[in-house]
C-alpha cells in the first residue's frame, strides 16, 4: 500500500473512532507514543499524517486500529450477566455463533453475525460480535445568524437553538462466554449514545434475534433465558457505596431531606472522602440511601475502568423487592480492565 493510501485508510479509522466517542485526548496519547506531533484539533490530523514517514505511519496505524478494536470490544457497554451456566450449553452456543459469523449471516432486526474472537486463551473467554446499524443522535448548537432573515425572526424568542443530527453507525453488540467462570454476558455497544427510553427495547430485540437464531439451528431448549433470570445487580448499588475499595465518582441518593446528586469537584477523586459529602452525611447521622452510583477502580496508570449501577428514582422509591439486570461500563480499553470490572460487579452484588 502506498503512503497516501495508508493515510486515507487511517483517516477512515480515525473518523470511526471519533464518531464512537474516542476523545481527542486519547488520540494525542497514540500520536505521542509514536513520537508524532500531537493534534490540537481534529482537522489538524490529515496534515500530521502527511508528514509521517512510512515506518511511523505504520506504527500509528497499528496503534489506532487496536484502539478502535478495543473500543468495539470493551468500552461504553451495557452488560447483562448470566452466571452458573452449564458449560456444555455455553459450548453449544459458542460453536453456533462461531459458525454463523463465518458466513456473516443476516439475522432479525437488522443484525449481521459479524465475527468471533478469542479474547483470552488463559481465561477461556470468547466474544461474538453482532453488528447492527443504529442512528446515533448528537446535539449541535445552531448559529441563528447564519439562517435566512425570515427564519431568524421566527426564532428570536429563543436563547439557544439546538439541532439534532442522526448519524448512522455500525454498532457491535456482543455475546461473551467465560468458560472459566461459566458466565454468559449479553452486551450492548455505545450505551452512552443510546436514548435512555430505547435501551430496554434494544436489549429485547437483541435477545429475540439471538433466540430465533438458536431455536432454528439447535432447538428451543438452548434459548437464552429472559433478562429477569440474569444476575440481580440491585444490591451492587449499596455495596459499591459501602465497600471502601475503589472511588465513587458520581452518586445519587436520598436522605430525609430529599434527593441529592453529587459529582466530583476539582481534583477530588472519591465523593465519599470529599468535605461536601462528609459534611452533608453527618447532618443526616450517616443515613443516606444511594440509588445510582458510579465507581472507578485504578489498577494502574492505563487501567482505570468505571462501572455505573443504578435505577430510576421512581423505581427506587417503590416498596418491595427490587431487580436490576444491567450495569454500564466505561473507560475500559483492554481485556485486563474488562475482566476486572466484571469481577468487581459480580463480587459486589
Amino acid at each position: 500500500m502506498t503512503n497516501s493510501d495508508q493515510q486515507k485508510e487511517l483517516q477512515l479509522i480515525i473518523d470511526e473512532c471519533r464518531i464512537r466517542g474516542i476523545t481527542l485526548d486519547d488520540f494525542r496519547r497514540s500520536f505521542r507514543s509514536v513520537s508524532a506531533e500531537q493534534p490540537k484539533q481534529w482537522r489538524s490530523i490529515p496534515s500530521i499524517l502527511s508528514m509521517l514517514n512510512q515506518e511511523n505511519l505504520e506504527k500509528l496505524s497499528e496503534k489506532i486500529q487496536k484502539l478502535l478494536e478495543n473500543h468495539r470490544f470493551y468500552n461504553d457497554k451495557l452488560l447483562v450477566i448470566y452466571e452458573k451456566q452449564d458449560s456444555e450449553y455455553l459450548q453449544e452456543l459458542d460453536q453456533l455463533f462461531s459458525e454463523i459469523s463465518v458466513e456473516n449471516k443476516q439475522l432479525d432486526y437488522g443484525y449481521i453475525a459479524d465475527s468471533s474472537y478469542n479474547l483470552s486463551e488463559k481465561d477461556k473467554v470468547s466474544l461474538h460480535h453482532f453488528r447492527k446499524i443504529r442512528d446515533i443522535f448528537s446535539k449541535e448548537d445552531i448559529d441563528v445568524d447564519k439562517l435566512p432573515k425570515d427564519a431568524q425572526s421566527e426564532l428570536n424568542e429563543f436563547d439557544r437553538i439546538i439541532g439534532v443530527r442522526a448519524t448512522k453507525l455500525d454498532c457491535y453488540d456482543a455475546v461473551i462466554f467465560d468458560f472459566k467462570e461459566n458466565l454468559m454476558i449479553i452486551q450492548l455497544d455505545l450505551i452512552s449514545m443510546l436514548n435512555a427510553g430505547e435501551i430496554d427495547k434494544n436489549i429485547e430485540d437483541f435477545l429475540k434475534t439471538l433466540n430465533s437464531l438458536i431455536s432454528s439451528n439447535i432447538g428451543n431448549a438452548f434459548k437464552i433465558d429472559k433478562k429477569t433470570n440474569a444476575v440481580n445487580l440491585y444490591p451492587c448499588i449499596t455495596n459499591f457505596y459501602k465497600n471502601i475499595e475503589g472511588a465513587v465518582t458520581r452518586l445519587s441518593f436520598t436522605t430525609s431531606k430529599g434527593v441529592h446528586h453529587e459529582t466530583l469537584k476539582g481534583a477530588a477523586t472519591d465523593i465519599r472522602k470529599a468535605d461536601y459529602h462528609i459534611g452533608g452525611k453527618a447532618k443526616e447521622s450517616g443515613n443516606i440511601y444511594p440509588y445510582r452510583v458510579t465507581k472507578k477502580f485504578e489498577l494502574d496508570i492505563d487501567n482505570k475502568p468505571q462501572a455505573f449501577i443504578g435505577v430510576k428514582y421512581n423505581y427506587f422509591a417503590k416498596p418491595g423487592a427490587k431487580f436490576l439486570a444491567s450495569a454500564r461500563i466505561f473507560d475500559v480499553m483492554n481485556f485486563k480492565s474488562y475482566a476486572y470490572i466484571i469481577s468487581k460487579i459480580i463480587e459486589n452484588r
Partner: protein
C-alpha cells in the same frame, strides 16, 4: 499575625520584591493566611477563583488578586498547583484534564477546543467548558506549619 514567629511561607513572600504599584504582595499574604489556617487541606482540596476571592480583601483589585494566585502557583514558589477540568459530554460532567500541557498550549496559541470532544470553541465557550482551579502542593502541605 505574630511578628515573632511567622510561617515559613509568609516570611518567603515578605522577603520577595514585588512591584510597589500593585497589591500583589498583600494579596499573596492574605491568601497564605487563609491557606495556612484552613483546617482540612489535602492534595485533593480544590479552590476556584471565586472561592479564593472571598479570602482576599476587596481593596485589592481583581487583577492583582488573580496575579497573586498565579504567583503562588509559580513552579519556583510551589504553594499552589494549577489544574483544569473540562466538560465531557459522554458523562455529562466536568472531568480532570490529565494532559495539562494541552490546555496551556491552547491558552498560549489562543486556539481553543474541548480537549475531549475536540470541538472548536470560541474563547467564551472555552471559559464555560474548561474550568481552572488550584490545589495545594505536597511541598506546601509538608511545610505549612513550619514557623521561623
Amino acid at each position: 499575625m505574630n511578628i515573632q514567629s511567622r510561617s515559613y511561607f509568609h516570611t518567603l513572600i515578605i522577603n520577595t520584591k514585588f512591584s510597589t504599584d500593585t497589591d500583589v504582595k498583600k494579596g499573596c499574604l492574605e491568601l497564605l493566611d487563609f491557606l495556612i489556617e484552613q483546617p482540612s487541606l489535602d492534595l485533593e482540596t480544590s479552590f476556584y477563583f471565586e472561592e479564593l476571592r472571598k479570602h482576599v480583601s476587596l481593596e485589592i483589585e481583581d487583577d492583582d488578586f488573580i496575579y497573586s494566585v498565579f504567583y503562588l502557583a509559580r513552579p519556583e514558589v510551589n504553594i499552589l498547583k494549577q489544574e483544569f477540568s473540562a466538560w465531557k459530554e459522554s458523562v455529562h460532567d466536568f472531568v480532570l484534564v490529565e494532559d495539562k500541557n494541552f490546555i496551556l498550549e491552547m491558552l498560549r496559541d489562543k486556539e481553543y477546543v474541548n480537549p475531549f470532544s475536540g470541538e472548536e470553541l470560541s474563547s467564551e465557550e472555552f471559559e464555560e467548558q474548561v474550568l481552572t482551579f488550584f490545589t495545594p502542593t505536597s511541598y506546601f502541605l509538608d511545610k505549612r506549619n513550619v514557623r521561623i
